[in-house]
């Protein structure tokens, strides 16, 4: 006696046919759907991005994976401080036109991809073609005491930093430079704010020349020193103020508590106690996120 003799409904030719049709249709739809899902998740979703080398202020403590990228600065003839952003060019790679913004900065390729992390790649200001004057403007909100009489959005000028060689706010060692919280390429209507930290420091010439200063700068490699020479002006340096860990906005000598975590002379992130050292520029690599494409 076959095992399925009393099976209901009985196996018939018609039934087997229907089962085959339904089963193959289900299999085919699963296969197609899976292929489509794999395709959407693995295809490149935007322009730019990928492995990128950049010069960072070093991450010395805490859970952050790498340092924050340095923003090259220059001083205009009016004494305003401007963050350099590479010119956008359209180049053809493998038959596909793409916009790249990169330039040579003291022997190191400075690219707009340096800033493509933490969602900044979606900000208007991070797009190479964005219409912006690149001036570093005073950030709004709670910042340094000396910045309180500044209007938010007012361009930072050199004369605001006259006292940079003696400035101190009781956190850490005084005389290491005068910081300012700034925003950059964010003046378009509805654009999201790119936070940048500006620091005018008397340590910069020593860093560029590899001398002994607040730290021993002779350990900084030559190519980074020449990058610093090209990326700074009148002792101004700047970096993108976005913690690479979870995208908080830390601050240089901003919080009293930074001393407990060795961050009193550096940049301290209050979220997870990451510490960055602006006096230790390093070259690091990360995977830049792609910009959205229309």
């Amino acid at each position: 006696m076959p095992l399925d003799e009393d099976k209901y409904p009985a196996e018939t030719g018609r039934r087997r046919f229907v089962k085959g049709v339904v089963g193959s249709a289900a299999l085919a739809s699963v296969g197609t759907g899976g292929a489509a899902a794999v395709n959407t998740t693995t295809s490149q979703s935007g322009g730019g991005g990928g492995p990128t080398q950049y010069v960072a202020i070093e991450n010395t403590a805490g859970p952050a994976p790498r340092g924050m990228p340095i923003v090259p600065v220059e001083v205009t003839s009016d004494g305003e401080i401007r963050g350099v952003f590479p010119e956008a060019e359209t180049e053809e790679v493998g038959g596909v036109e793409r916009v790249v913004a990169e330039t040579d900065m003291g022997g190191i390729t400075y690219s707009s991809q340096w800033f493509q992390y933490c969602g900044i790649e979606q900000y208007e200001g991070a797009q190479p073609e964005a219409d912006a004057d690149n001036l570093l403007r005073a950030a709004s909100g709670e910042n340094y005491a000396w910045q309180e009489d500044l209007e938010a959005g007012e361009p930072l000028t050199v004369d605001m930093f006259e006292d940079y060689e003696s400035w101190g706010n009781g956190i850490g060692k005084g005389g290491l430079g005068k910081p300012a919280a700034a925003r950059w390429r964010s003046e378009t209507e509805g654009a999201k704010t790119i936070p940048v930290q500006v620091l005018r420091t008397p340590e910069l010439p020593k860093m560029i020349n590899g001398e002994q200063g607040f730290r021993d700068y002779s350990t900084i490699p030559q190519n980074i020193r020449s990058f610093l020479g090209a990326a700074t002006e009148e002792n101004f340096m700047a970096w993108l103020n976005k913690c690479t860990h979870f995208c908080c906005v830390p601050g240089y000598k901003k919080l009293e508590g930074s001393a407990d975590f060795g961050g009193e002379n550096g940049v301290y992130c209050q979220c997870h106690q990451s510490v960055y050292d602006p006096f230790s520029p390093t070259r690091v690599q990360f995977i830049a996120r792609p910009r959205p494409t229309e």
Binding site: G119, P195, V249, P250, G257, D260, C269, Q270
Partner: protein, 258 residues
């Protein structure tokens, strides 16, 4: 009337003792004193007795017009529905009342370009937030040239898996048969260290706000649970010794040793 196991009716037919032929008591039925005088056959007697009562019960049921049902619960309608309606309207009313009386505070949208000086998750998530700060425990693998096998943040997330996994495993290790901690001092100590660890890891998560050296906090995070475990174990063991002492004292008071 004989003392043998088989009994006979007045008309001489043998009585079946399988329950089918049970008859009401008559003159043939042994009296209680007769039964008491028997020295054997008690098992059969008991069997007959119960079989007869079962039969009487069955007859009564069959004569009755009552339809017997098993009652497992009250009917859904109306009993359960009316009760549930009352409960539901009470809680919906409470929600409406509270939302009307306490309108929510809706803050401004999050500003990604500035971070407040104190930034923390809700207090009941501090323990998990603290687990994210276990970076110093993440080992440097010398084979990888001092590199870490995984990033500190991956390590912190895996720590959550370990802790939640341990909490999930404990009920399988100990079913909690003990009614009071003295019965199982070891497991009570494990539980106390867990409670203390939940507190210390929460403190670790706000280490930047605690006026203490952060390295000391980190060490205390793991040391205090151990201390709590040892103290709990010691206290419970000595309490148990105390109980045993009292028991022994009473015992020996009753029967003084020779």
């Amino acid at each position: 009337m004989s003392d043998t196991d088989t009994t006979t009716n007045a008309d001489g037919a043998e009585v079946r003792t399988d329950g089918t032929g049970i008859v009401p008591p008559d003159d043939e039925t042994p009296t209680w004193s007769e039964r008491k005088a028997r020295s054997q056959g008690l098992a059969r007697l008991t069997y007959e007795y119960f079989e007869r009562s079962r039969r009487e019960d069955q007859d009564l049921r069959q004569q009755s017009s009552y339809v017997e049902r098993d009652v497992l619960a009250f009917p859904t309608w109306p009993h359960e529905m009316i009760r549930n309606l009352a409960l539901v309207s009470f809680f919906v009313g409470m929600i409406v009342f509270l939302s009307a009386a306490l309108p929510p505070h809706i803050g401004p949208p999050a500003d990604s370009s500035s971070t407040p000086a104190v930034i923390l998750p809700d207090w009941y998530l501090y323990w998990s937030f603290g687990l994210l700060k276990l970076g110093p425990l993440n080992p440097d693998i010398s084979l990888l040239g001092g590199q870490k096998l995984m990033a500190d943040r991956t390590y912190g997330v895996l720590a959550n898996v370990v802790i939640v996994g341990f909490v999930a495993i404990v009920p399988f290790l100990n079913k909690g048969a003990a009614r009071r901690p003295v019965e199982q001092p070891f497991w009570a100590a494990v539980g106390m260290s867990g409670v203390v660890f939940a507190f210390t890891i929460a403190v670790l998560s706000v280490k930047n706000l605690v006026p203490m050296d952060s390295h000391v906090i980190f060490d205390l995070t793991f040391f205090l649970p151990l201390v709590a475990a040892f103290v709990t174990y010691a206290v419970l063991r000595s309490m148990r010794e105390g109980y045993m002492f009292n028991l022994n004292r009473r015992y020996y008071r009753l029967r003084p040793p020779k």
